[in-house]
C-alpha cells in the first residue's frame, strides 16, 4: 500500500447536506482528502424533498436517488451505509460506529440532519416500546414504504401536524385513496410560512381535494388496542381513523455532538466558517447546525453551507464565509402552487401589498421594506414567482408600480412557462438548444444556471432566453437548483462582487489584470474574466491603468469587429450620421482600392466596410483618414440623429447639432457594455431615441427630455425619463453623469436597460438629478477626465503596440527542422 499522504475527512451523515458537501469537495479537488462517510440508512443519498412523491406513488424510489451506492465507489469515497455512529472521540480524533468500527479523522464534519419530533401522546407506544400498529413518522424511504403498505388496508388516516411536512404527507395519502384528516395545533395551516389569510385559502383548496382540516386541536391520546382506531383531543372529542402519521415538526440530531462535548443549543453551534464553537477540526452543516441563532430546515441553505465549507476545506477560497441565508421555498402543496420567501408578516413601517381571489384560490402578498422585498407569499399562481424570487434574492429595488411584480402579464412579456413546453421546443434561438437537451444536462448533473449554460450553450448568445433556461432547470431539478455564487461576482474567476472588488483594487493599487489574478486567484488566469477586469481597471485608473493587451478581446486588440470568417469590419466615425460628398468619395475609393467585399449602411447611420483581413486594417485606416467609430467595443458607439430644426418642418430642437456634440464628446468612452444613443428633434421620435441606452427628445418650448435605459435589441424596453433640461450643454452634462454612474456601478456586460431596472429609475433620479448623496460633482469630474484621456485607437495603425499586433500568421521561413 502507498503511504497515506492525504488528510482524512470523515463525514457523519449521508443526507442532503453531507453528500452534497462531498460532491462539492470532489468537484473542486478530487485528491484533497481521503473521504469516509457514515450514513444510518442502508442506501446512497436520495432527495428527501421528493419523498411525498414516493408516498403518493408518483415517484419510484429509485428515481429519487441523487447518488446511488455506485457513485461512492467511483468517487473513491468510503461509505459505511447503514452504520450509525455511536460516539465521537475528540481527544483521539476518532469516530466509532455502532458496529464497533473505528475511523480516525483529521477533519470531521457532522451532518446528522434532524428527525421527526413526536409529541408524548398516550397510547402512542406499546408496552414493548415500539409504535402502536398504524402509527408512523414520515422522514425516510423506509417510512414511505411502511405507510404505503399499511394504507392499502386503511379507509381513513389522520395526519398530526399541519405544517409543510404534514401537508406533504396528507397529499401522499390522498393519492393512495385514503380519506385524510389533518389535525393541527395552531389556528391556521403552515403558520411558519403563511399568514392567516393564506392559511385559510390553502385550507379551502385542500377541502376541494377532499382533505378535512381540524384546527386548534391538541391530540392527547392515540386510541385502539392492537391497532390504531382513533385520536382523542383535549376538548374531549375524538376522530376515528385506522392510521396516524405524526408530522409535528423536526428536531436537529445533536446527541452525538452534545455527548462529544461540543457546544449545542437548538443545533450544533457554528460560526461563519462553519466550525463548531469549541473544536477547530470539527464542522457542522445542514439541519443539525445552528448558525447565528438560526437552524434551517430547507434545502437551499444546506447547499450554500456545503458550498462554503467545500471552498474552505479545499482551499479553493480559504476565506469563504457563510453569512446566513435568505430563506425561500417553492412547492406544490396538495397540487396548489405555493412560493414563500422572507418574512410573512409586516413590521412597523413596512408596506404591505396584497391581492386575494378566493374563487380561484389565488393569494399574493408582498412585504416591502425600504423599497425592497422583505417577504412574499404566492398561492395558486406560480407565474409571478420567478420575478419575486429574483427581487428577493438580489435585494432589487421594486418598481414603483408594485403590481408589475405581482402580475407579470402586465409587463407585456408573459413568457409562456418553459415547464409546459415539449422536449423538442427550441429554447435558445441563438444556438438552437432544445428544451430536451437542457433537461438532459440537468439530469446529467448541472444544477445551476451557469453550469447549464456552459454545458449546452443555451443563453450564451443574446442571453434573452436565460429566464426560460432557469424555468427548465427549476422544473427538472425542483428544489435541487443551486444559485451559483459566481452569478454575483463581477467576473467568474474572482470571488468578489463589484463593490468589494473595486474597493480591493483601489486599496491594493492593482493596476493591471495580471496583478488582480495574482492577488485573488493565486495567479490562475481565468480567460472569461480578463476582458471584464480590463474594462473595470480602465474605468478605475484611467490613464494610470497598466494595459495588458492579452486581457482584451480580439476586437479591442485590433480595433475592428471580428466576422465569421476571421476577417474584420471597419466602421469609421461619422458624427451624428452627417456626412459629405468628399467623405463618401473617400470611402468609395477605399472600397475600390482594397476590393472590400461588402459596403453596408448600418443601423447607426454609418458605413461599414466588411471582410477586411486583419493585416490590411492599418492600410484601410490610413486611406480612410477618419477616426474609429468604435463599432467593435464595449463603449459609446454612436448617436443617431434626425434632421431636426435644420430641415424638418416639424422639428422643435436642433437634434443634429446636439447629436454631433454628443458623439464628439463621448466617442470611445469605455463602459460595461455598448451604449447606443440617439437624439430626436421632436416627439415624433423618428430616430427612435426612446429605445436607446441614452436618448434626447426635443419638446416644444426649447427643452429636451433625457431618456435612459432604453433598447430595441434582444430585449425591447422603452427608456425611462431621467429629466427634462433646457440646453444642449445640460443634455451633455446629464448624459455624461449617467454614463459615469453606469460605468462605476453596472456589472460587466450589463446593458443600461438591465442596469436601470435593477437600480430603479426613481433611485437614479434621486442620485443624479436631486444629487441626494452628493455624488454629482465627482461623477461629472470623472467623466470629464475620461473624455480628456480619449485617443483615437486607429493611430495604432501607424504606431503598433507590438510589431505583430495586426498579424495572425507568423511567417516561418526559418522553421526548418533542426538537425
Amino acid at each position: 500500500m502507498a503511504m497515506r499522504t492525504r488528510s482524512r475527512l470523515v463525514v457523519i451523515g449521508n443526507g442532503m447536506a453531507g453528500a452534497r458537501l462531498v460532491e462539492e469537495i470532489i468537484a473542486r479537488d478530487a485528491d484533497a482528502f481521503e473521504i469516509t462517510m457514515f450514513g444510518d440508512e442502508p442506501y446512497g443519498n436520495y432527495n428527501r424533498i421528493l419523498l411525498s412523491g414516493v408516498l403518493a406513488g408518483t415517484h419510484d424510489p429509485k428515481d429519487i436517488f441523487i447518488n446511488p451506492l455506485s457513485w461512492y465507489e467511483q468517487a473513491r469515497v468510503r461509505l459505511h451505509a447503514g452504520v450509525r455512529v455511536a460516539r465521537i472521540d475528540r481527544d483521539n480524533r476518532l469516530v466509532v460506529g455502532d458496529d464497533g468500527r473505528v475511523e480516525p479523522y483529521d477533519r470531521l464534519v457532522i451532518a446528522t440532519g434532524s428527525s421527526a419530533f413526536v409529541p408524548p401522546l398516550d397510547g402512542l407506544v406499546t408496552d414493548t416500546g415500539g409504535y402502536r400498529d398504524g402509527v408512523f413518522v414520515f422522514r425516510t424511504l423506509d417510512d414511505c414504504a411502511a405507510i404505503r403498505r399499511y394504507a392499502a388496508g386503511a379507509r381513513r388516516a389522520a395526519v398530526i401536524g399541519g405544517g409543510l411536512l404534514g401537508l406533504e404527507a396528507a397529499r401522499g395519502l390522498r393519492e393512495l385513496d385514503v380519506e385524510v384528516h389533518v389535525v393541527h395545533l395552531m389556528r391556521h395551516l403552515m403558520e411558519v410560512q403563511l399568514d392567516e389569510a393564506a392559511g385559510s385559502m390553502l385550507q379551502a383548496a385542500m377541502a376541494r381535494l377532499g382533505v378535512t382540516t381540524h384546527l386548534a386541536r391538541r391530540t392527547t391520546a392515540v386510541l385502539g388496542d392492537a391497532r390504531v382506531s382513533g385520536l382523542l383531543f383535549d376538548d374531549g372529542t375524538r376522530l376515528d381513523c385506522e392510521m396516524v402519521v405524526v408530522s409535528a415538526g423536526i428536531r436537529p440530531n445533536v446527541a452525538l455532538a452534545r455527548d462529544a462535548g461540543l457546544a449545542v443549543e437548538r443545533g450544533i453551534v457554528v460560526g461563519d466558517d462553519l466550525r463548531t464553537a469549541n473544536d477547530s477540526g470539527v464542522y457542522a452543516i445542514g439541519e443539525c447546525a445552528q448558525h447565528r441563532g438560526q437552524v434551517y430546515g430547507l434545502v437551499a441553505p444546506l447547499w450554500e453551507q456545503a458550498q462554503v465549507l467545500a471552498e474552505r476545506l479545499t482551499n479553493a477560497n480559504a476565506h469563504a464565509a457563510y453569512r446566513g441565508s435568505r430563506v425561500s421555498t417553492k412547492l406544490k402543496v396538495m397540487g396548489v402552487d405555493l412560493a414563500v420567501m422572507g418574512e410573512k408578516d409586516a413590521a412597523e413601517g413596512d408596506e404591505v401589498v396584497h391581492y386575494a381571489e378566493p374563487s380561484r384560490g389565488v393569494y399574493k402578498k408582498m412585504v416591502v421594506r425600504n423599497g425592497q422585498l422583505a417577504g412574499a407569499i404566492l398561492l395558486g399562481d406560480p407565474d409571478a414567482a420567478p420575478a419575486l424570487q429574483q427581487a428577493f434574492d438580489r435585494s432589487l429595488s421594486l418598481p414603483d408600480n408594485r403590481a408589475e411584480l405581482l402580475f407579470p402579464s402586465m409587463r407585456n412579456e408573459a413568457p409562456a412557462s418553459a415547464a409546459a413546453l415539449p422536449d423538442e421546443a427550441q429554447i435558445c434561438n441563438c444556438n438552437g438548444v432544445t428544451k430536451g437537451r437542457i433537461a438532459k444536462a440537468v439530469a446529467d448533473g448541472c444544477r445551476s444556471l451557469r453550469a447549464l449554460c456552459d454545458a449546452t450553450r443555451a443563453g450564451t448568445g443574446c442571453g434573452s432566453c436565460k429566464p426560460q433556461v432557469q424555468q427548465v432547470l427549476e422544473s427538472c431539478a425542483g428544489d435541487a437548483v443551486v444559485e451559483d455564487p459566481a452569478t454575483h461576482y463581477y467576473v467568474p474567476g474572482i470571488p468578489l462582487r463589484k463593490p468589494e472588488l473595486v474597493a480591493q483594487i483601489r486599496e491594493r493599487h492593482l493596476r493591471s489584470v495580471s496583478s488582480v489574478f495574482a492577488a485573488f486567484a493565486a495567479g490562475r488566469e481565468d480567460a472569461k474574466s480578463k476582458a471584464g477586469l480590463a474594462s473595470l481597471l480602465k474605468t478605475i485608473w484611467g490613464a494610470a491603468y497598466e494595459d495588458e493587451r492579452d486581457a482584451r478581446f480580439i476586437n479591442d486588440r485590433v480595433h475592428a469587429n471580428i466576422q465569421r470568417d476571421g476577417t474584420f469590419s471597419v466602421v469609421p466615425r461619422i458624427y451624428g450620421g452627417v456626412t459629405s460628398a468628399a467623405q463618401l468619395r473617400r470611402i468609395a475609393d477605399v472600397a475600390d482600392k482594397h476590393q472590400v467585399p461588402m459596403v453596408k449602411i448600418t443601423g447607426g447611420q454609418r458605413i461599414d466596410l466588411l471582410g477586411i483581413p486583419k493585416d490590411k486594417l492599418p492600410d484601410v485606416w490610413r486611406d480612410l483618414g477618419m477616426p474609429s467609430g468604435h463599432a467593435y467595443a464595449k463603449a459609446f458607439r454612436t448617436c443617431k440623429t434626425c434632421v431636426g430644426t435644420e430641415f424638418c418642418r416639424y422639428g422643435v430642437g436642433d437634434s443634429t447639432r446636439l447629436g454631433i456634440a454628443i458623439e464628439q464628446r463621448f466617442q470611445g468612452l469605455e463602459s460595461p457594455h455598448k451604449m447606443k444613443l440617439a437624439t430626436a428633434g421632436c416627439p415624433r421620435n423618428c430616430s427612435e431615441a426612446t429605445t436607446k441606452d441614452l436618448g434626447a427628445v426635443a419638446i416644444d418650448g426649447g427643452r429636451w427630455e433625457v431618456y435612459v435605459g432604453g433598447g430595441a435589441g434582444s430585449k425591447v424596453r422603452k427608456g425611462d425619463l431621467l429629466c427634462t433640461v433646457d440646453t444642449h450643454d445640460d443634455v451633455l452634462q446629464m448624459m455624461g453623469r449617467f454614463m459615469q454612474y453606469y460605468r462605476e456601478h453596472a456589472r460587466y456586460l450589463e446593458r443600461t436597460y438591465d442596469f436601470v431596472e435593477r437600480i430603479g429609475i426613481a433611485h437614479i433620479r434621486r442620485l443624479l438629478v436631486d444629487d441626494s448623496d452628493g455624488l454629482c460633482a465627482a461623477l461629472d469630474a470623472a467623466v470629464q477626465a475620461a473624455v480628456d484621456a480619449f485617443v483615437d485607437p486607429w493611430q495604432e495603425g501607424t504606431v503598433p503596440v507590438h510589431p505583430l499586433q495586426f498579424r495572425t500568421i507568423v511567417h516561418t521561413a526559418g522553421a526548418e527542422p533542426v538537425a
Binding site: 444556438n431 456552459d454 454545458a455 450553450r457 450564451t460 474567476g493 495580471s514 495567479g523 490562475r524 488566469e525 481565468d526 480567460a527 472569461k528 480578463k530 476582458a531 495588458e548 493587451r549 492579452d550 486581457a551 478581446f553 480580439i554 486588440r557 471580428i562 465569421r564 470568417d565 476571421g566 507590438h802 505583430l804 499586433q805 498579424r807 495572425t808 500568421i809 507568423v810 511567417h811 516561418t812 526559418g814 522553421a815 526548418e816 527542422p817 533542426v818 538537425a819
Partner: protein
C-alpha cells in the same frame, strides 16, 4: 510508420506577445502557439472545429483559450472542450529552448 522527426524552430518566443497566440504555417498545416503569462507554451490546431474560428485570436487563460467567434472554451493541455459537444483540437508538443527559441514537435 512515421519517421522520427526533429522539432522545428519557430524563432524567438518574443514573436508572440505575452498572454497571446500566433499561427505558424508548417508542413502544410496551421498551428496555433499560445504563450501563457505563467511562462507555459502550448500548441494546437489553429481553427475551432465548431465554426472555424481563429483560436489564436482568442482570450487565453491558464491552460485555456476561448474561441473568439462563439465562445467555446478549450483546454490547451488536452485540446478538449470540456462539457461541450465539440470535437477536440489536435495538440502538439512545444517548448522554449534555453536560448529563447520556440521549438515545435509535430510528431
Amino acid at each position: 510508420m512515421s519517421l522520427v522527426t526533429a522539432p522545428h524552430s519557430l524563432g524567438p518566443i518574443a514573436r508572440i506577445p505575452l498572454g497571446e497566440a500566433r499561427v505558424f504555417h508548417i508542413e502544410g498545416r496551421n498551428v496555433a502557439v499560445f504563450r501563457c503569462r505563467s511562462g507555459e507554451v502550448f500548441a494546437t490546431s489553429a481553427d475551432c472545429p465548431h465554426g472555424g474560428g481563429p483560436l489564436a485570436d482568442g482570450l487565453v487563460g491558464s491552460h485555456s483559450v476561448i474561441c473568439p467567434l462563439h465562445g467555446f472554451v478549450f483546454d490547451l493541455r488536452t485540446g478538449e472542450a470540456p462539457g461541450r459537444e465539440c470535437e477536440r483540437l489536435i495538440t502538439h508538443r512545444v517548448a522554449v529552448a534555453a536560448n529563447g527559441e520556440l521549438m515545435l514537435d509535430l510528431a
